[in-house]
């Protein structure tokens, strides 16, 4: 049997030091299997984003272990972690983080560029990814020419264009209205169902969390509850 996709063991993260130190994560244990669709909820400041950033290898933990497909991430070098992000991880930010004044197509092509894909392959896959998020025809638009929902779709297209093992999304619908949120959730669900991409998503919105088959609640830097939907499992 293959190891779980992601294992967090007593994961700790402390910001600052001395009396000003903030313990954002105080020993989180969590296992995510391949193909899951997980929603992460919890009050503000409970450490959701901190945990997501560590899962995305964007940040380093202060203690405990993060094991990705059997590989201890803390034993990897900076470059090896970059390669891990490049090959297996897709990250969607609440604030999109698209390159300004850069067309949607070029934004989506970017990860492929770093993977050394040929020009033709880059363009084909980027177009397909934009098409999959319902943005064909908007390839040449720059972020400032797109709505918030459209920008988030570009960001999702950028995250999944490399066919990652897992898509990490930190409040992907946080800046979007209900209708647009609904569309984004349909998109994430289909990516999970049809392409087998594991999705871990932070949200404050119970309606959004309802799309997931498993909900993990963070409180005060710890996992408070971990609920699987029976119906989805059967």
């Amino acid at each position: 049997m293959s190891p779980p996709l992601v294992v967090l063991e007593r994961l700790r993260k402390t910001y600052g030091s001395g009396s000003a130190a903030v313990e954002a994560l105080r020993g989180v244990d969590l296992t995510v299997e391949e193909g899951e669709f997980v929603a992460v909820m919890g009050p503000s400041g409970s450490g959701k984003s901190t945990a997501m950033n560590i899962l995305g290898c964007l940040d380093t933990p202060s203690g405990g272990d993060y094991i990705f497909r059997g590989v201890r991430v803390s034993s990897l070098s900076r470059d090896e972690r970059a390669l891990l992000r490049r090959r297996y991880l897709g990250f969607v930010f609440q604030g999109f983080n698209l390159l300004a004044r850069t067309s949607a197509l070029e934004n989506v092509e970017l990860p492929l560029l770093y993977r050394g894909e040929t020009r033709a392959a880059r363009e084909m896959r980027a177009r397909a990814a934009l098409d999959a998020v319902g943005l064909s025809g908007r390839e040449t638009h720059t972020p400032s020419e797109l709505s918030g929902g459209q920008q988030q779709r570009v960001a999702i297209a950028r995250a999944v264009v490399t066919a990652p093992a897992v898509l990490l999304a930190d409040e992907p619908t946080g800046n979007l209205d209900t209708k647009t949120s609904h569309e984004i959730m349909e998109l994430l669900t289909s990516l999970n169902r049809d392409r087998g991409i594991t999705v871990v998503m932070v949200t404050h919105d119970a309606n959004v969390a309802a799309w997931a088959r498993r909900t993990v609640r963070f409180v005060d830097g710890l996992v408070e509850s971990d609920v699987r939907k029976e119906a989805a499992c059967s």
Binding site: N53, G56, L58, D59, T60, R78, D79, A82, L83, R85, R86, R87, L89, F91, F93, N97, L98, L99, A100, R101, T102, E106, L110, P111, L113, Y114, R115, G116, R158, T162
Partner: protein, 402 residues
């Protein structure tokens, strides 16, 4: 990897056209200011040298006072007398011509035309020593020279200004209120160094100038021509000895006059111009610095945006060295593009200006290289250092920067 980094860098340049343009502009300004100034300064120095050596190697200039340097002139030194010229000519047989010169700027008037020009009072030896030939008319007769008659020989520029197309021999021009008959015309010599017009002159017998214009018997300088170029050094010693004797300078005392051959004149004048070139160079260095600060500014202002960009790239899976390579390529492309544009512009501008000012044009490779490298170094340094700092961060740190 290099090809991809190049593509990424070119896209980044295209994406920030304004910033790229301003960076290039800073480098263009710095590089071209330095090159133009130095090229013109060098041209001026060379022009003066060329012109003076073109006078021939057997010319000697004698002036009262010591040292011909910026900030010091002959004011206050005892001037020469006409009898000194007679003595030099009479006693030193190695001299072919000794022309005493007393000159002033005066306004020449003919009909309704006026023209301010340099009036040189001298003898016929002046034409010999200065290598002037006549286009028309004649030089001074002995009687005219001796009695100081109001006759004159016009330079080509003065003739053109006062008479237009006609040949004015026999006409009378007015100078400082007295009438003066034109007896000859000098053949044009053309423009000299730095736009100095040698043909802008009126030559008269020295006694006339002394009596009617300067109002004193002082002689400003001697222009001496030596028969043999090889005898110049010897002639200088002879002139010095004779003048010391005539001016009653005791042994051990310094000369109160100068005897300069063409090489020395060229050197002192070039010295003055070198000083000016230095000054221009300083101005240029300031432009270079201003250009550099401009580049610095643009680079630093965009650090926040670029830090976020770097964070995004890292988050997507770019390696630190890939990001650095991109920024390095970007900076090098912008800097060298700016440098090349600056060099081309500056070369064209100095060429045009040199033509306009009548200066020889030559490219100073060292200065060009220094200006280019300095600007490029600033461009690369300030493009790369903030990028390096950002690329070392955890991606989330870079993304959090506001």
């Amino acid at each position: 990897m290099l090809l991809n980094a190049l593509l990424v860098a070119v896209r980044a340049i295209r994406r920030n056209l304004l910033r790229s343009f301003l960076t290039i502009l800073g480098i263009v300004i710095g590089v071209s200011a330095v090159i133009v100034m130095v090229t013109l300064g060098n041209g001026a120095t060379k022009a003066v040298g060329d012109q003076i050596s073109s006078l021939g190697s057997n010319l000697i200039l004698v002036r009262p006072g010591q040292r011909m340097e910026p900030g010091r002139d002959s004011a206050g030194a005892k001037s020469f007398e006409l009898s000194d010229a007679d003595a030099l000519r009479g006693q030193l047989t190695s001299l072919r011509a000794v022309a005493p010169v007393a000159s002033r700027v005066a306004r020449a008037v003919y009909g309704s035309e006026t023209w301010s020009t340099n009036v040189a009072g001298t003898t016929n030896d002046y034409f010999t020593a200065g290598g002037w030939s006549l286009a028309a008319g004649r030089t001074f007769s002995d009687a005219e020279a001796l009695s100081g008659r109001a006759v004159c020989v016009l330079g080509e520029t003065v003739r053109k200004k006062l008479f237009g197309g006609t040949i004015p021999i026999g006409s009378e021009i007015r100078l400082k209120g007295f009438g003066c008959e034109v007896i000859g015309l000098l053949a044009a010599k053309g423009q000299g160094a730095m736009g100095m017009d040698q043909d802008d002159t009126v030559v008269m017998p020295i006694r006339t100038v002394q009596r009617r214009i300067t109002g004193s018997t002082a002689v400003g300088s001697f222009v001496v021509s030596v028969r043999e170029a090889s005898a110049v050094a010897r002639a200088k010693d002879d002139i010095t000895a004779l003048l010391r004797e005539r001016r009653h300078i005791d042994e051990g005392e310094d000369d109160d006059f100068m005897v300069l051959d063409t090489k020395q004149i060229a050197n002192t004048l070039s010295g003055t111009i070198s000083l000016m070139t230095g000054l221009l160079g300083a101005v240029a260095a300031v432009s270079l610095l201003v250009g550099g600060i401009g580049i610095m500014n643009i680079m630093l202002v965009s650090v926040t945006e670029r830090t976020r960009e770097i964070g995004t790239r890292l988050a997507i899976g770019a390696l630190e060295r890939e990001v650095l390579l991109q920024f390095l390529i970007e900076a090098v492309v912008l800097s060298s593009f700016g440098g090349v544009v600056g060099i081309v512009l500056a070369t064209a501008a100095s060429w045009a200006l040199a033509g306009l000012l009548g200066l020889p044009f030559s490219v100073d490779v060292t200065i060009t290289a220094v200006a280019f490298l300095f600007s490029a170094a600033i461009g690369v340094l300030f493009g790369l250092v903030p990028a390096r700092r950002a690329a070392r961060l955890d991606p989330i740190e870079a993304l959090r920067r506001e």
